[in-house]
Point group: C2
Amino acid sequence: MAMSSVNPDLVRERQKCSFDVQELVHFIDGGEEHTLERREVENLVLDIKELKDVVPEEFLSHKERYENSIRKACILYEFFRKYSETNNTLDAFSPTNKYRVQMGVFKDISPFMLHMGMFVPTIMNQSAPDQAAEWLPKALNLEIIGTYAQTELGHGTFLRGLETTATYDPKTEEFVLNSPTLTAYKWWPGGLAHTANHCIVVAQLYTNGKCYGVHPFFVQIRDSETHMPLTGVKVGEIGPKLGFNTANNGFLGFNNFRIPRMNMLMKNAQVLKDGTYVKAKSDKLTYGTMVFVRVLIVTDMAYELSRASTIAVRYAAVRHQSQPKPGEPEPAIIEYVTQQHKLFIAIATSHAYRVTGNWLWNTYSKVTSDMGKGNLDQLPELHALACCLKAVCSRDATLRIEECRLACGGHGYMASSGLPIIQNIAAATITYEGEYTVLMLQTARYLVKAWKQASVGKVMTPTVAYLVDFSKNSNHIWENTPEGIIRGFHAVGAGKTQAAFEAVQAHEKTGLDFEDAWNRASVQLVNASEAHCRAILCEMSWAEMQRLSQTLSPNLRKVVLELIEMYIVFWALEKRGELLMYTKIQKDDIAVLQKRYEELLAAVRPNAVGLVDAFDIRDEVKSHAQTFNTVRYLKLLKVIGINMITDPELHPGCFRRARVRAPDGGGAEESSQRGARQQILPPVPQTSDQS
Amino acid sequence: MAMSSVNPDLVRERQKCSFDVQELVHFIDGGEEHTLERREVENLVLDIKELKDVVPEEFLSHKERYENSIRKACILYEFFRKYSETNNTLDAFSPTNKYRVQMGVFKDISPFMLHMGMFVPTIMNQSAPDQAAEWLPKALNLEIIGTYAQTELGHGTFLRGLETTATYDPKTEEFVLNSPTLTAYKWWPGGLAHTANHCIVVAQLYTNGKCYGVHPFFVQIRDSETHMPLTGVKVGEIGPKLGFNTANNGFLGFNNFRIPRMNMLMKNAQVLKDGTYVKAKSDKLTYGTMVFVRVLIVTDMAYELSRASTIAVRYAAVRHQSQPKPGEPEPAIIEYVTQQHKLFIAIATSHAYRVTGNWLWNTYSKVTSDMGKGNLDQLPELHALACCLKAVCSRDATLRIEECRLACGGHGYMASSGLPIIQNIAAATITYEGEYTVLMLQTARYLVKAWKQASVGKVMTPTVAYLVDFSKNSNHIWENTPEGIIRGFHAVGAGKTQAAFEAVQAHEKTGLDFEDAWNRASVQLVNASEAHCRAILCEMSWAEMQRLSQTLSPNLRKVVLELIEMYIVFWALEKRGELLMYTKIQKDDIAVLQKRYEELLAAVRPNAVGLVDAFDIRDEVKSHAQTFNTVRYLKLLKVIGINMITDPELHPGCFRRARVRAPDGGGAEESSQRGARQQILPPVPQTSDQS
């Protein structure tokens, strides 16, 4: 086990660190007790031998991948079921890293993800008490496996356009489900293809000959014993994708499929026995649930950034390349300022997203709690916030993760680096749960409305209050401080909102109706949302980090505040054009900011490895490397931290035959002793193909 | 075969087109005769039944994918061998779309790619006449299969750091090859893992006890009959990757492996029988070959952009979504200006890259021809050009392709859209054949040198001549025309070069030596290269399109010039901050450019489908869709152009069982009639696993 010794480059890096790494670990987890809980779960899960892959997933066929992931999901969820008997696992719904260890088990995505992520929450939030009493225990106990079937082949963004029908038949007191066209087929739900036996189906409700719009229904689709689709149900898989290949995304169609009346989720709207439709008190009551996943994506992206930056920063610390000075040894690539520029912003962004995401979660919790008391006032603001934050954070995080991947050169292109799957999982978030542009235009509607109110001096909700200020006075002096930049971003947000608003008006004056004018101005409207969102991200991450870091030791407080400052200055430089247009910033100020940015890179440099160590991500969760056939390569490149399992004997699978043998090393066979075609590729595991 | 009828949305779009699509097809191909040749090759190749996949590659295991691709590669290259008996296939080395049909055969990458792409060219360019006479016919005739082994596990960018040694033994007149450490293992060569039996090995040459630096050697690594690695050779595969999963990338190590003296490629340097080293006339003579692949990447990216935009534009023309106006039908998403903003720039960029890439190829041809005559004067400029153009085009194209993918929503995430593999193949080009940042800093060295010369009024090489102008006078008035913007980009290039140069000097003044000062300023130096490269791209694409379009009909000429104008205006808006800093552009000018950009979007709008039709990419080359199990989905979404093979009966493979059956359609089985687990996933084809 000599390989568990720590790489000397990393030892040196760790000695440079100016703060207590464990203090930052606890800060990121939200307290020492949360760190201990998380580590307990990680230890328990990663000790389960059956969850370790013998062959890395990328070598398997699509079918084998699914079979392997469903096998692991069964073991893992059984563990969680038992674990929940003594622990409350429902805290999984709030942002936490406690259960991220699942990423180490699945590498890609759990085929049960939508069961806990959307099926259970929908039952909790939208069913009547007696319905929840019947369904929830079964769902939490995994007696039934569910998913959430809303999107159709032809309908994603436009919810009202869904075609699946649920027609009430008062004679039998049943709903009859139908997919009248092929575009009406449900398309995408995770776990639907071969895993789920139940789902929430969102369908157009017809009763007494009238359509009342889309409503959710609880539908059993497969036989509990045989797992065969029930008669009238057509279900299957939609095929391989960029990522999410173990998510088991499926399609679903209905042909006169009947369900009892009480399978309509009746917390809000209801259909009585005789078919009478009873309206919900507010059509916004289901709105909160929609926002839920978007809110969580912000902290999810913080975590994916921490995974990617951990890999890329450690690689940069141990990879040596080029010889800028003749005769001197090749420096570690982390010494190159261009490399620091690529990587440190990923660390800073992770922290900015985590504190902003937690603030958004608290806002969400407060608003939904108020909604429970009948107060819906803050919902539009929350909606506008969640839309743009989900959109911008998913997109920027994906770009930052790709930058980390590219910063590892060719090695970042290899699946064994762990980076390709992180990038592909992050990329999906740009599209799912509200497509980027669609969400940005939702926020733009709120901004334009707010701008109109601001221009007549109305009192504004907090996150757009700055519009009032800038509708009156856009003549702020420029200051090269985080606060000054935030004010500058407010000016940009206000200026771009005004410009987009005026563009809409100008198009209207040419005779276009409002929606056509809106479309013509939509590129500018998206830009306004983006500017607004960047102002929010800078403002809230700075305010929250100031607040949260008050209890930290001075050394650490300095470090985390510098990270947020780096995030703010980075974006000031990226958006210098907008600042030049909408603020009093001068060319000389930009030079000052450039200099400050370079100072911050230099300040982060000695702490870089300590900062990614503080993300405290075990190698099993971070990458595939421990089961990769070039484990000796990793040993040699010394990418490996203190807690990586790297002894090849621990991974006795198919790669033993394939290991590279160092000329000075022992044990592995020479390639020349085997047939060339058979020597490296793993054997295909035995699978039963009964077709 | 009703499915081959044309989708009504596309018919309508095609009726709007203002130009003759066939004329543009010929223009893109470089003349009607080239179009005919390309189509002949496409027809011949796509008629070979054995090249059609029964199961799409994404469903296969890593091992099965390789086996399938090598099977197809053998058939395809045998076809090309026969085809070359009556046709000259060596024109494949210049930029042409004639052989792109291979992308339709492999979807991913041919395991023989490096044979024709680097093994053969290296023999042609670097071996002595008698060596070429021996090796070249065998290589061209595919009697031997080769690859190019340069990069090592620990050494990519830094060529001088390669560790593999070739030590001359005058007693036996042989070179002895060794991999002294694990980092010395060759790493990455395509086809090396299980395919190639020969390769060019780049190694440190030792003779008479002295090291003479890296030289190329012709090395047989596998037995011609058994295909077993020869004794002393260790060879295998490096594992799955983001893309290039059929490229069969491998590793290679040597243990006292002997090759004859005459296996050193001796066109330039030589080793005599007694071990005497004879220097090459110039150490730059191998330089031209390095530039070769970088030059081709620019036109490669033009082609990948044409593939991606064809898919995304047709999708946008037939996908209907949302209802901006109550009561009206859902518009095709191409009507949304935000969608036009995402897609049309991809079309424009493809044209800009094609004409710039062809210009670069002509420059390359001229410079290498001059080199043959002993004139190396233009080599540094060509090198600086190829570096930044390769870097910027690969990166921007990847971003544009991802934008196309995202513009298709969830469907763009599915492998069946064809977009994920295009994106992943494009992403690799950012790293291979010279990593992005490394190349940008190469160009920066040339720029800084040029800036110093310009500041003392020296005559400059053409592509940096603008520096003289701006070193004297940066006070040009601003004009909102393509020429005015190009002048503006020259000002930005000059301004950023100056700023970076001064930053280096300022760091030097603090006592840093030049290389440390260079490193501290490197982010600014990369920015200077980028600005220079954008100026080149705008200038050359505008000049070349002006020149090339002179013989076109007026309607078409207008269209192609508007596309390049769109490319230029798009980048003026993207880089408005830099223009504000380095030119006399005003806020009002930016509003004028924004308006012009929107006018150009509106001008392209009616021609969008015609423009992608003119890329003339057969569906087999464009995407996987024709073998996808949701072929009926595509029918319904009507993404399908006039020449798509979409009848499911033509694809009688494993998906027959899995087809979605439309409620109103006939023939397919219901899912409920089969076991849920077995119904969709394809059977694993029988493969022989003899291990």
